[in-house]
Amino acid sequence: MNNQQNKTEMAPKGISLWQDGLRKPARRTSLWVGGLHRRKLAMASFVIIVVYFLLAGLIYVGEIFNWQWAAVKWSEQIGKQYQPPSAQHIFGTDIFGQSVFRKTLYGAKISLTVALCASFVSIAIGVPLGALAGYFRGIIDDIIVWIYSTLSSIPYILLILAFAVVLRDRTLFGHKLTGITSVYLAIGLTSWVGLCRLIRGEVIKHKERQYVLAARSYGCSNSRIIFRHLLPNVFHLVIIDFSIRFVAFIHAEVILSFLGLGEANRPSWGAMINDARIEMSRGVWWQMAAATLAIFFISLALNIFGDALRDCLDPKLRIQ
């Protein structure tokens, strides 16, 4: 409160509080990124997220061009089995004498790929369906609501397991669904419900606004109103939902791998935790610790960043 008062006093004459909230004097773009760079914690989280993504990207590129660097050579045996963490092996070694550190790095690629692809699948299903249901209402709304209510009435883990089992090793459009593809399809196909609901509700709210009537009055078609007028107005929700959902998707991948339905041949964090389950009883804690830490940091960073994003993008919270 005190801080806020100070700010008010400090604001130069002629600049409204509102503009002050956006930090820059009213300019374009300030609507979107305004204020975000002021939050130190959010920026630190953002850096962590970028590092994770860079890592995953580099591993992809490294695999294509066959670069011989640590994370790509995760399968190499670098010492005896079950070496505890030391200066030489930061996170020790596993049963095959492979570096746990390298496996953790490589796990970032699997996890982020799964989370990213699952997000795209769920956005691609949830947003259009939510917008259609909210805009047209009536029987279209009934059908869509019925579908997602049915989906969401099945316990999530069971549903995702069922999808993963069904999708596994099927061929879709002549493309064989390997472990990782079936995992993100299973996650994406089961998790669009929340987003769909959110978008539907928001579209119902927005379509009663006068600018929609105005758009119709100057001759916009239904699809134009949905995609050009309504979706941009609710899209901040998609971004925020994405940042929050992303963590859940990483976790879902971990769960699926832990249950043996994930990627079998390459290390992911879930697979590592699954391996470590038995090792724990023998006092081998480092594989579990490494995977958990990796998940911990990305989850925390994404959560903090998602929160900050919501504060910046939601027009209701922006005016304080």
Binding site: F136, G138, I139, Y211, S217, R228, H229
Partner: protein
């Protein structure tokens, strides 16, 4: 056929089905608008003025499915709306969208909520132009005119903004609606409306949400645009002061019906319907003290007693009779509703006691 005739509304009725019954928002409304003229629709809140405007553009029923496949009308609209002899109620989909914005444009009451908050105003005006010029671009390509000259661009938006007397249109076009004042937003709305050079501009209480000083500016702007383009204006308002000088013809609406319609000059000089008389009497006038009532000289402004009837429970007979100085005792007024009749050439009124009403 009369060449000056632009829009003819015949027996327009709009019914909404609500839970407690049917709301008759508009009943048997008929009027004509001539080219280049201003027609004013006056009445209290909830009397059906805005619904009439929306009904002209076929905007009252909300589609519940694409391509009308699953359309469940939320409102029943009957009657006909002839624009240049073409019945808008018979059109659908694409053809109707070509009329909206292009032939008939709408300016709304609240400019702050009528602009999309996520686009710059220039973008929004350009969109309105783009929607209707796409076809002509195709035609132009066939006729070998350079495309740049025919394609609607940002420049068109800026031109239109200049037309509605916005200073520095290049800068304003880049702004978002929330950065503009109410008056500016309304100018932008008008710019959007006139960007396609419509034949008819429907202004639905264009000044209600604005300051009094801005109101006059906006109305002057409309008048000026009308002079430049020769469009007709359907001005909807509850403010008789607004229409006094600007409208050519006035229709007074009360409880979903037109009760009196006449030339503006005639209506102000000699109102026939008790409701119109009441409205005019209750206008405050500068420097004129209110007339004496009940034998006492008092300074209070006369009002029309009572309130507007609820649309679900309209009184029987003439809907104005409970508030009418003549009709509240009259049996016929209470039981039989008078229809709108022409009592003098060009003068219509719906009152049993209006001069000349029963002779015809």
């Amino acid at each position: 056929m009369d060449n000056n005739l632009l829009l003819e509304v015949k027996n327009l009725s709009v019914h909404f089905s609500a839970e407690d019954g049917t709301v008759k928002a508009v009943q048997n409304v008929s009027f004509i608008i001539e080219r280049g003229k201003t027609f004013a629709l006056v009445g209290e809140s909830g009397c059906g003025k805005s619904t009439t405007a929306l009904a002209i553009l076929q905007l009252v029923s909300v589609p519940t499915g694409p391509r009308g496949l699953l359309r469940k009308p939320a409102a029943g609209v009957s009657g006909s709306i002839l624009l240049d002899g073409q019945d808008l109620t018979k059109l659908s989909g694409k053809k109707l969208r070509d009329i909206r914005g292009n032939k008939i444009a709408l300016v709304f009451q609240e400019p702050m909520t009528s602009l999309n908050p996520v686009y710059t105003v220039g973008n929004q005006i350009a969109e309105a132009v783009k929607l209707h010029q796409r076809k002509s671009t195709r035609q132009v390509r066939r006729s070998q005119i350079p495309r740049e000259m025919a394609r609607p661009t940002w420049a068109d938006a800026i031109d239109t903004l200049r037309k509605v007397s916005i200073a520095d249109p290049e800068q304003i076009a880049k702004m978002y609606p929330h950065q503009l004042s109410g008056g500016m937003q309304q100018r932008v709305m008008i710019a959007m409306a006139v960007s396609c050079k419509p034949d008819l501009l429907i202004a639905d209480e264009p000044t209600t949400a604005l300051d009094v000083t801005i109101q006059a500016q906006i109305l002057d702007l409309l008048e000026q645009l009308q002079r430049q383009t020769g469009m007709s204006i359907l001005l909807i308002t509850h403010d008789l002061g607004v229409v006094a000088e600007r409208a050519d013809n006035i229709a007074v609406m009360y409880a979903s019906r037109i009760v009196e319609m006449a030339d503006s000059w005639q209506l102000f000089a000699e109102p026939f319907h008790p409701y119109t008389q009441g409205l005019l009497r209750s206008l405050p006038r500068l420097g004129v003290s209110a007339p004496a009532r009940d034998g006492q000289a008092h300074k209070r402004l006369p009002t029309i007693p009572g309130t507007v009837p609820e649309p679900l429970h309209f009184p029987t007979g003439c809907k104005f009779h409970p508030r009418c100085p003549i009709g509240h005792k009259d049996r016929r007024c209470r039981t039989v509703e008078p229809e709108l009749r022409e009592v003098q050439p060009g003068r219509y009124v719906a009152c049993w006691y209006a001069p000349g009403y029963e002779k015809r």
